[in-house]
Amino acid sequence: MFWYVLRRVLIAVPLLLGITFISFLVIHLAPGDPVDFHTGDLSPDSSAQAKQMLRKQYGLDKPLPVQYWNWLIRLARLDFGRSFAPDGRPVLQKIGERLPITLMLNVVEMAIILLFAVPIGVLSATRQYSRFDKATTVFVFMGFATPDFWFALLLILLFAVHLGWLPASGLRDINWEYLSFWKRHWDFLSHLILPIGVATFGGLAGFSRYMRQSMLEVVRQDYIQSARAKGLAERVVIGKHALRNAMLPIVTILGLSLPGLIGGSVIVESIFAIPGMGQLMVQSVFQRDYPVIMGNLVIVSTLTLVANLLADVAYGLVDPRIRLGGRRRQ
């Protein structure tokens, strides 16, 4: 097992290097120049010399391999560099201030999705082709097919403009600092209801359909038959014997969606004016802010590799076939 893990870690290093190299190349191939955004593109006020000077300052005048090498050397010292945007702040700081809100939104969304998707999936599997099954199928696919931005705007129009129950956008009230302790929490929460609602509605379909499918397969197994034959209550058969087995693929998918937790949804964030990771990433791409894009990519790809590794290790632990296969090869 130890050697297996070690081998996987060693393979991950060149993989990560490859990812960064290709990303670096692709980003620099994209037309446009961070300097243009700095000086206001096509602004008559900014001269060609000013642009040349900025290019030099950022090291953009050097050949691409040299730029990549310099970036890599800095990365080896865990220095992600400074943003090319005029604020010139360290990349990690920029990511750090946006990560918490995105992470929080995504974790809450994921929890709510699971909370609904699992029972929906189980119930529609055990009552296959029932009215409930058909109704939830239509419902979750509506959520899947509804464009986020459209649904979000409709919700704002209803709850913020017409009814006035919830705030339209943002994270905190303008007078948040002056509210009492409980009101502050309610205010923050009320700002999150709509964005979380939109994201949850869109995400229900995936998990609930996986759950349904997996459950359908499991209930056809012999051991479920024997559990029933033993005279166990249906509740126990489904809730204990079937559900546990049916949850395995869900857990796998959950593991794979972990890196996604730090990426924000650009659409939801823009419409609800939430300063999260999605907006940061899109802005940096539009501004060709290479250090921020690369910093973000390194973090996401590292997380993905780690999540894959963990999943593989977990399989090895759980499934003897994988473990034995590994030993036989040795």
Partner: protein, 551 residues
């Protein structure tokens, strides 16, 4: 971004379906009554910004959000008043020598930095040094490179000398002044961007002090009670960052924000035209300092012929364009200057919609015969070209389509190509790989447009993309920028406009109107050729109407 635009459209469609359109008379006209109210302090104004600010030192940022905030925290020696004339800001008065080369500023003695230190002539000298320092990442160096010498004569007198007369000299001193006592070390080390004053503790001389900047969320400013001029009356300003135009519109409807200038023509004209909105907001409308044009690559022999360009100008109905694209909320452009400003010359050649005249001009240029597709042919080649514009601007896309339809009537085939902004600029505009374009120019407050029209400005990073060259235009531009007297400059720029109108190096289309709305409870907002922001420090909310007490 594409998605967001789609979002805007959807909302428009929804709102259009939801409310039956009502024809109203605009804002309630109680202007006279409003003028007699005495200004009082208090209240908060909430405004929306589409993008986050980039930093708190405006001298090193170039986006409009940063400048909106920066101009409230800092101030320059001079500023523009409602009629766009330069008046003193930190400068009490100034004198200019006959040869335009010497300028002496008398500074206001009661101006203070937000940390309590007095503002002195030494800070002016420092700002100059910071701007010309090669390590300062600013886009606004050019103006200061023209300076030959600068000295602080005493604490409140600055003398500047220019190597040669420089028309933009006075205007360049509207640059925001920076404090030497806080920023000197950062400037010398070339680390101005990293200074805490650029992030969390800016110190300026302006009407508002910085309170807080939450990245991507909001910027909060509070009134500077030590301000050297009148006001400011509004106690607190909150700039909320809302990247979606659709959301800003809904926030306005929900009265979540007090002011915005991001309404589209459709939102402004139709979707906000209902009584509740008219009661809650004052709407304003004035020409913005930008125009949209239909430009040609003059290196292309077909477009190098003036008659072809003139024919196109006759073929396009500008009025129809403004109606179709802006719902009438724009003004016809006859040249590169805004109608109603001192430099604008109304007596230039105009091109009323006239297809006959257009056909005739094309025929003179050799485009007589038509092929089987109804396209004009010369030397066996049909007249077709690609018209490019950038993605993300619906107006330009519509203009391209209207031009396509108009020129088709003449027998000219137009293919439209829409490209992402950065690649459009870098791969096509800068490399001159285009036949025709729809684009816009923002115009500065000074009439100098040397960078855009002068024949020497055709390098890859220069702005004369269309490769226009006319010796007389060059001469007018050179003369215009080397005089500092308005009446003299006007002569040169009048002539410039005449030549441009005759030459049509580009077809000048229109100046779109700026369409800001401000909450009705805010008094003192006046529309002028300089927009509505020029007297911002005099805006106030009568006590009985104040909505926010905190702050």
């Amino acid at each position: 971004m594409i998605v967001l635009r789609a979002a805007v459209l959807v909302v428009l469609a929804l709102a259009a379906a939801a409310c039956t359109s009502e024809v109203g008379s605009g804002t309630g006209d109680d202007g006279a009554a409003r003028k007699t109210v005495r200004p009082v302090y208090g209240d908060t104004l909430i405004e929306a910004l589409l993008g986050d600010i980039q930093g708190l030192i405006p001298n090193i940022t170039s986006d409009s959000a940063s400048h909106t905030i920066g101009n409230l925290i800092y101030s320059g020696l001079v500023k523009r008043d409602e009629s766009l004339r330069l008046v003193g800001d930190l400068a009490e008065s100034w004198t200019v020598s006959r040869d335009c080369r010497n300028m002496t500023f008398q500074l206001k003695k009661n101006a203070k930095w937000h940390d309590g230190r007095p503002f002195t002539a030494d800070d002016v000298v420092f700002t100059y040094q910071a701007m010309v320092n090669p390590k300062t990442p600013t886009a606004y160096k050019e103006d200061f490179k023209a300076v030959e010498s600068i000295e602080a004569v005493d604490a409140h007198t600055v003398r500047v000398r220019y190597a040669r007369p420089y028309a933009k000299a006075l205007q360049s001193w509207s640059t925001t002044m920076l404090p030497r006592h806080l920023l000197e070390s950062y400037v010398t080390e070339g680390r101005l961007r990293e200074a805490p004053q650029n992030r969390e503790s800016p110190v300026g001389t302006g009407p508002y002090r910085f309170k807080e900047w939450r990245t991507g969320e909001k910027v909060v400013l509070t009134a500077n009670r030590d301000y050297y001029d009148t006001g400011p009356y509004l106690s607190r300003l909150v700039y909320r960052i809302i990247p979606s135009q659709a959301t800003i519109f809904l926030e306005l409807k929900a009265k979540g924000i007090d002011s915005s200038s991001t309404l589209t023509a459709l939102q402004y004209k139709r979707q906000t035209d209902y009584p509740a909105f008219r009661r809650a907001y004052q709407k304003f409308r004035y020409p913005s300092s930008a125009y949209t044009y239909f430009g040609f690559n003059l290196k292309d022999p077909r477009f190098a012929d003036k008659r072809v360009r003139q024919a196109f100008a006759y073929a396009i109905s500008k009025q129809e364009l403004i109606e179709g694209v802006r719902l009438g909320l724009g003004r016809e452009a006859t040249g590169p200057y805004k109608p109603g400003t001192w430099v604008y010359n109304p007596n230039v050649k105009r091109y009323p919609h006239d297809l006959e005249r257009a056909r005739q001009l094309l025929a003179e240029a050799g485009w007589r015969e038509k092929n089987g597709d109804g396209l004009l042919v010369k030397d066996g080649k049909p007249f077709t070209f690609t018209l490019m514009t950038n993605q993300g601007n619906d107006e330009r896309k519509k203009i391209a389509e209207l031009i396509q339809a108009s020129l088709r009537e003449l027998g000219v085939g137009v293919d439209i190509r829409i490209l992402e902004w950065a690649s459009f600029i870098k791969e096509y505009i800068k490399k001159r790989r285009f036949e025709a374009i729809v684009l816009g120019w923002g115009i500065g407050l000074d009439p100098d447009q040397y960078e855009i029209w002068h024949s020497s400005k055709t390098g890859p990073d220069d702005l004369n993309h269309i490769s226009y060259a006319n010796p007389e235009v060059d001469e007018m531009l050179e003369r215009g920028r080397s005089s500092c007297f308005e009446d003299e400059r006007k002569k040169y720029y009048d002539r410039l406009q005449e030549i441009l109108a005759e030459d049509q190096p580009i077809v000048f289309l229109y100046f779109p109107d700026a369409l800001p709305v401000v909450a009705t409870r805010v008094y003192g907002v006046v529309e002028s050729p300089n927009g509505i922001g020029f007297n911002f420090t005099e805006w106030f909310v009568p006590r009985s109407l104040q909505r926010y007490t905190a702050g």
